[in-house]
Structure formats: structure tokens, C-alpha cells
């Protein structure tokens, strides 16, 4: 269950174009072992193989030696953790030996080496503040929406009354009122959608919702989900950590504006099957993260056909459904399924209030499914991740106030639109174009001309410069498994309008230090 480092992905040999300055060929010898260490087999094989070779050699040389014990995953091959400055009362270590942790835990405990997490940490440690810390890091790497919290604050101050304890401490076994959430989600997804509360399962955030679906749909060994790239870095953790499910990237490219092609899906599916693995489903984000595009009605139909043809599931993560702007209409899977007489047992929607309502701290998520078995199992599984009672009591009246929610949704969209316009225009002044997106809290910026060499290393060098010199945290495309180097996700909804010129200025400084005039490779120059 290792979190795949963006620096190494030997599974996909065609992933990176060969850069003019080389850098990849030198790695080829190491790749087979790395593949073992980073990919399947994990730590056990990664330590067993070199150990086994070593011991085999020793044994050969000293024939009377007894065979060594097999290297256990708890041996010192595991990387040492940076110790927390422990104010605990530990004095001495036991002499009887250290109780081990599971293999699952060992990999999770490793320090985070993805730029996605490193950047988030840096930005929070040295957070920009106009007055207190004007040279701090400006956070553009966290897709949070701070534009419309005032509306919620106002509603709360007008309506908050009554004891937060309401009718008691409330057991989680109780049937909570799902009508409010179903109603709100229907509003978000468009008037054509009317969600049935009994098909809704409430969870403490979208993160456990996704994990629960993975447990229900594909938690037997060797199972995989196809996922279009680039994708939200958190999926690597949410989908893979504890379930054992694998994510198989289906690459999308700038030449098609990063749209998903059924041909590519088909190819990926067949490749996986050839390896003897089962594909259990397709994981989509719509609106997509990090690109911000909306799937067209036609694409949704095609995806349903594909899923039916292969007899697999579709998980549609629609957490940004309310954060759309521009002229394109958002179509939820729910809308398609409502109208079509299709096999509904294979489609499951994930939603949450973290993005559209800016309430990530309150942990409110949901699974919407048409599959009875999935609903039953999911409901049981929410004992591990239920929504806190006072939070439900707080939000149910607010979500039920449809006049407020309608106003909120409209105003919020307008504000996101105007920030998007300003921010994208600012980047354009620097010669940085963005994919035309219609949803989400971020833009997908093309900085391919600014990286040297034209590969992942070049991209990470630029990311590093942006973080440490410009003091801007953005998410590099490699952290999102993008197959083309040079793309960056920039979240702009944590900013206020007056911050934008400052951000653009800081980026300008770094842009000016990049050697520009080398011609950017055209799509024909990519390998594969």
C-alpha cells in the first residue's frame, strides 16, 4: 500500500517522454528492483530479494553455515521515522524486543514524499498573513473555498437558537434525517434531479465515503479501478491504503484538453486484464480535479455503455458539483440514471459539504447509490465514520432553508467565476495559459514552457522555485499523475481579490528566471 512517489513509476514505462538531457536511461538498471519495492510485493520483496541474494552468496561460500532466518518486515530495513520531540515519559526501551506494526501500517508511517503533502505542510508552517507574515507562503495548493463563508455566518447568526443538545446525546444508531441532505444535493445537481433520501448514506466526509465504496466494490486482492489522469492526489491514499485496491491510470492529454477517451479506457482495461487482474470499476471526478472540466452528457452515456459492456462499477465523485461557473451545464450521473432505463446497480455517487459549502471541518459526506447491497453494507460501515450529532443538528435546518441555499449557490458561483476570471487573466499576463475550466476551485495552468529540462525533474524544480523563492504553494502535475510534465494546479478560492496582484508578482519573479525561448515540444514529440 505504498503511496506511489511521483518520482518513480516503473509500472508505466511509457510515462515520461525521453528528455533531451537524458536522465531516464540511467535509471533503467534500477527499475526492476524499484518496481518491486514501490509496486507490488512492497516492503517484503523489497527487502527479501537483496537479503536473499546476499545470504545465498554467503551460504554458498560457507557451506556449513545454517540457513538464515527469513527477513521479517519488522526488521531494521524499514526507514527510521523522524521522532516527534516526545515530551512523553519514555525512559528506556524494553529489552524483550519491539512489538511490530502491520505491513499496512509500516508503509503509511513513512514520511510523506509527495510534493502535494510537502507543499501543504510548508504553506501551513509558514502561512502568509498580510500583517503578521507578509513574506509567508501563499497557499494555492489546497482546494478550499473561502469566498462565501460570510453567507453561512450570516445565516447562523440569524437562525442559531435552541440547545445544541436538542433531544439528547443521540446514538448513531438512530435514523437521521436525510431529507435535508437529499434536498440540498438535488438543488446542487440541478433541478432535473430529485434524489431519494433512502438511497443516501451519510458519512463523516467524502474521504470515508470513497473508501467505503472501494471496500464494497473491490476489496479482494488483485482488484483495480481505472482512473483518468490527472487526478486528485488524495485518491492514492483514500482508495489504496487499507483496501488493497489498485488504481490504474488512464492518461488524458492536453491535445484533447485532457478529456477522457473511451479508446484509452478500453486500452487500459485490456492491458489490466492481460496481466490477470480484475477491473472492478471506474473512478471519476465530475467536475474533475485538478483540470476543472465537466463531463458532457454524451460522455456520461458513453461511460455508462462502457461500464455495462465490461460489467464494472462507476464511482462518480461529484464533490465540486456546486462549484461550477461559466456557461456549461453540469450533468450529474443521477440525472442520466433518472431518465434512462439503464442498469442502475453499477453507479454510485460521492458528495460532501467540504467544497461547495466550505465546511471541511464539519465532516459531512454522502454516498448515493441505486444498489441495495451497497446501501446495506455502506450503512453498516458508517459506524466507523458517522456525522457528529451536533453538526447534524446545526446543518439540517440550514440545508432545509431552500431559499437560503438557492441564494447561496448562485452567489457562490458568481464569486468563484469572478475570481477565476481575475486569476486566469493575471496568469495570462505572465504568458501562462490555463485550460478552460468550468468547475472546481482551481485552474490547470500550462507552465510547460518554463521548465528545464522538459521532464518531471524540471517540473519539480519549478515547483520548488515557486515554493521557496516565490513563496507560492501550487500542486505539480506529477503529484496528480499527469503524463505531461509542466502542468500545475492553482487553487484561487483561498485568496481575496486584492491578493491576486501580489501572487502574480511573485510568480513573475520566478518566471523571469526561467530560460524562455527554447521551443516547446509539440504533442508529436511525446513518447506514446
Amino acid at each position: 500500500m505504498t503511496q506511489t512517489s511521483p518520482l518513480r513509476d516503473p509500472e508505466d514505462e511509457t510515462r515520461r517522454p525521453v528528455s533531451p538531457t537524458g536522465g531516464r536511461t540511467g535509471m533503467r538498471l534500477i527499475v526492476p528492483l524499484q518496481g518491486v519495492v514501490q509496486g507490488r510485493g512492497g516492503l517484503i520483496l523489497g527487502s527479501l530479494i537483496p537479503c536473499a541474494l546476499f545470504y545465498f552468496l554467503q551460504f554458498y561460500l560457507k557451506r556449513h553455515r545454517s540457513p538464515p532466518p527469513p527477513a521479517s518486515p519488522s526488521s531494521s530495513n524499514l526507514p527510521e521515522l523522524a521522532r516527534t520531540s516526545s515530551r512523553s515519559n519514555l525512559t528506556s526501551r524494553g529489552s524483550m524486543g519491539q512489538a511490530r506494526v502491520s505491513s499496512r501500517a509500516s508503509s503509511i508511517a513513512k514520511p510523506n514524499d509527495s510534493p502535494y503533502y510537502i507543499g501543504l505542510d510548508r504553506a501551513s508552517e509558514d502561512a502568509y498573513d498580510e500583517l503578521e507574515n507578509p513574506n509567508g507562503v501563499i497557499q494555492l495548493g489546497l482546494s478550499e473555498n473561502r469566498l462565501s463563508l460570510d453567507l453561512i455566518e450570516q445565516w447562523l447568526s440569524r437562525n442559531l437558537n435552541g440547545s445544541i443538545l436538542g433531544g439528547g446525546g443521540g446514538g448513531f444508531e438512530y435514523e437521521w434525517n436525510r431529507d435535508a441532505m437529499a434536498g440540498f444535493m438535488s438543488q446542487i445537481m440541478g433541478r432535473a434531479v430529485s434524489l431519494n433520501p433512502s438511497q443516501l448514506v451519510l458519512t463523516s466526509g467524502a474521504t470515508p465515503a470513497i473508501e467505503i465504496l472501494c471496500f464494497c466494490l473491490a476489496a479482494d486482492p488483485g482488484h483495480a479501478f481505472l482512473i483518468p489522469t490527472p487526478y486528485y492526489p488524495g485518491f492514492d491514499r483514500d482508495v489504496r491504503w487499507r483496501t488493497g485496491v489498485e488504481l490504474i491510470p488512464v492518461h488524458c492529454r492536453s491535445s484533447d484538453n485532457f478529456t477522457l477517451s473511451i479508446t484509452a479506457l478500453d486500452q487500459a482495461y485490456n492491458q489490466v486484464r492481460k496481466r490477470g487482474q480484475k477491473v472492478r470499476g471506474l473512478l471519476l471526478s465530475n467536475p474533475s480535479n485538478p483540470v476543472g472540466s465537466i463531463l458532457t452528457r454524451e460522455t456520461l452515456y458513453n461511460l455508462l455503455d462502457f461500464a455495462r459492456d465490461k460489467n464494472i462499477h462507476i464511482i462518480s465523485d461529484e464533490i465540486f458539483a456546486g462549484s461550477i461557473y461559466g456557461s456549461e451545464e453540469f450533468v450529474s450521473m443521477a440525472e442520466i440514471l433518472d431518465s434512462e432505463d439503464v442498469d442502475r446497480n453499477r453507479v454510485h455517487i460521492v458528495y460532501g459539504l467540504s467544497k461547495d459549502l466550505s465546511l471541511p471541518g464539519f465532516r459531512v459526506g454522502a454516498i448515493y447509490s441505486w444498489n441495495e447491497h451497497v446501501l446495506t453494507a455502506s450503512k453498516q460501515l458508517t459506524r466507523f465514520c458517522s456525522i457528529s450529532a451536533p453538526t447534524q443538528r446545526l446543518l439540517i435546518p440550514m440545508l432545509s432553508d431552500t431559499r437560503f441555499t438557492q441564494e447561496y449557490i448562485e452567489t457562490n458561483r458568481k464569486r468563484i467565476q469572478s475570481m477565476y476570471d481575475l486569476f486566469v487573466a493575471g496568469l495570462e499576463q505572465l504568458g501562462i495559459k490555463c485550460v478552460k475550466s468550468s468547475g472546481g476551485l482551481y485552474c490547470w495552468a500550462d507552465m510547460r514552457e518554463l521548465i528545464r529540462p522538459y521532464n518531471e525533474k524540471g517540473e519539480l524544480d519549478l515547483w520548488d522555485k515557486l515554493l521557496n523563492i516565490a513563496k507560492i504553494n501550487v500542486t505539480p502535475g506529477s503529484a496528480c499523475h499527469c503524463i505531461e510534465p509542466g502542468w500545475f494546479r492553482c487553487c484561487f478560492t483561498t485568496l481575496s481579490k486584492k491578493d491576486i496582484p501580489l501572487v502574480i508578482e511573485r510568480i513573475r519573479k520566478v518566471v523571469e528566471t526561467c530560460n524562455l525561448p527554447l521551443k516547446m515540444p509539440t504533442s508529436g514529440g511525446f513518447q506514446s
Binding site: T91, P208, N311, F362, R363
Partner: protein, 440 residues
Amino acid sequence: MAIEIEQPRVGLSKIAVSKTHGEDSPYFAGWKAYDENPYDEFRNPSGVIQMGLAENQVSFDILEEYLEQHAEEASWGKKASGFRENALFQDYHGLQSFRKAMASFMEQIREGRAKFNPDRVVLTAGATAANELLTFILADPGDALLVPTPYYPGFDRDLRWRTGVNIVPIHCDSSNNFQVTPQALEAAYKNAESLNIKVRGVLITNPSNPLGATIHRSTLEQILDFVTIKNIHLVSDEIYSGSVFSPTEFTSVAEILESRSYKDCERVHIVYSLSKDLGLPGFRVGTIYSYNDRVVTTARRMSSFTLISSQTQQLLGSMLSDEKFTGNYITKNRERLRNRYEKMVGGLRNAGVECLEGNAGLFCWVNLSPLLENQTRESELAVWEAILHRVKLNISPGSSCHCSEPGWFRVCFANMSEKTLEVALKRIQSFMEERKITSG
């Protein structure tokens, strides 16, 4: 692809269709009967009284009063940014102030006999999640945890369902009041070995559910010695620690570690929650307190799947930091639970029914073996059904707690009003009198 066409049904994992969640056991069947015909003093006086739910409603009014008087701190205070910061806060470390409050509350419950470092507190949405998380961290699929019987029926689901880890029982019986013995520990360990299963730890509940009794200090020392020798972990679920009737009768494993200068403490992890002691199960507040840095780091990250609402942390943080209030609450809660317990035991004795001597928790461990036709699980279930359908009381049969001796039942007394408890006791008295008459 041909295979897929033959199966038009789209596949689901074993987890989705397995029965490991135990939905078929009497534990849940009793629930159903109650749901269909719930007792209400006025509207349904002959309905089923729920005595199978270990919830604490005896001290709720104390909490309510406090929160009403301190509504401002409980919400986001006067600070304009209070709400905004709180709504955006999703750091898996949790609010520092809340962690401190939990650590100090846990210390108060133990009357300062053990100290808790807020940096070792990992927050989870309930103890259910905490136990599952620890199981994921300490054991691989196919491995086992040793758990003394009888145990909380929910463990079958919480420890095994998604983790793929097994529970191997440590058998305890009435000959010594169901206390764990070194022999029983060793037997369980050997049992696992014979099945080729790797044991990764021992999980105890102290005070015990369903026994309603604290574990003796000497027994705790023995268990700690055992896990040390076997080089495995110890998880101590102390969720009822605040519900011990007399605080001096409870020894936390933390105190034992303190007395041993924390030697070799990295194998010990404590689970706690506010669901029982504060009667707030719906709030979903649980914690893992681990003396092992790696476990703390891993558990923190894994808690992403089960974070406590920042609003709830804010709401309870100031209340739990108010030591005068919490001290008073803990004392009153203990008193009220003791009174309930004594009422229960007294009423049962009048009916000729004996219980295990308890000193904690929200339930009694009741001996109904004289009612059994044969000393078998089937006879026990027959009695359970009779009590459910004729006496209209939902109590939990020992077999659902994996008790090796038939005839024991867990009966809860804190999830109802005193009046309802009286009604229940009267029903038991009538039932027992009837049986005396009919059996001659």
C-alpha cells in the same frame, strides 16, 4: 469477458456480502423486537423495554445545564473569525485545545494516578473507529488478537470486518468471577499457534463489558507480563473508566506503566471515548492514546477516514477543560450509576436472581442458569426468547458475547428512567414467581 456476460449482476466484494457484521445474532434480533414494539410509559406500557443498549442517560441533565449556561463558548464565541476558522479546520491532529482537554479529562478520571500527554492523543469518530484503526495498524489480514470472553458483541464486527483480522478467545468462567488467568492467556495463544495464526496482541476492556467489573490490578500486571514475553501489543479499551462507581477500584494500565517507569510501554495503547461516561454516543468522540510513536503517527494519518467534527471539538473542548465542572460531573455520574446498580441488584435479588458482583459500567452480568433446561446455548437462547417475547424485556444473551458458560445475560440499567427500571424489575419478579409456581 465471456465470464462477465454470464453474470449480469455486477460484482461486489466479500466484505459487502459477508456476514461478519453479525447482523443475524440475537444482539440485533432483540433490537428489532424493540423497534417494532417499544415501551412507552403512557402510550405503550406493555411494550418491550430496551435493556440491551449500553447507553448512559442518568447524568444528561448535568451536561445540558452546563452547555446552556455556556452557550457562547460552546458555539464560536464572540470572535468573528471563530466560526470561519473552525469550519475550515480539517487537520488530522485535531484542535490542540481539544486534545489537551481530553488528556486532562482522562487524568481526572484516574484521579491523577496517571498522566496523559496531549501529543499522544489521536482523535477518531468514536471508540468503534479507534478499535478498528488499531487493529489495522497492529495486525495484518489473517493475524489474530486475543480477547477475553465474554466480550462486547460489536468486536466481532469492529475488529474483524474490514481488517481481515481474527479474534481468538481467552476463555474465562465463573469459577473466578470471569477474571483472566495466565493459564487462559497461554491456552489462547497456543490455540492460535495450532491454527497457524499469528497473534499480534491482546485486547481487553477495562472495566469489562459485559461483566460490569474492573480488572484486578494483579491481573493487569499478569497480562502486561504476558504480552511483554510474547512481544505482542496490548490494547486496553477503557471506555467505561469514568463509570466506575468508586474511583479507587479502577486501575488503568497507564498506572501500571507509570509504576514500571514506562519500561517497554511502546506495546501499550489505550482506547477511550465520551459515548459512555458522558452519554454522548451521537457526538462521535473517541481517542487512541498510544505510547508508541509510530502507532501515533500512523493512527493520525489513518484518522483521515474518521475525523471528529471540528464543531464538536470546539463545543466540548471548553467544557472538558473546565476542571471544576468535570470533577463535579464525574463524581455525580458515579453516584447515580451506583444507585441504579444497587436498585437493579436489589430488585433482582428480590426476584431470586443473582448477578456477578459488579463495580462499574452501565449493566449487570446476571446469572439465569437456574432457568435453563440444559446447560446449553440452545437452552439459553430459549430463555432469552421467552424473556423477550413474554416478559417483554430485551436483554443480551451471554452466547452473543461468546461466553463459554451458558445462562449468563447482560442487562443494562442506565439507558432508561428510574421509573422504567422499576417496571422492568417488577416484570422480572412476576416472571420468576410464575416459574416457581409452575415448576412446583
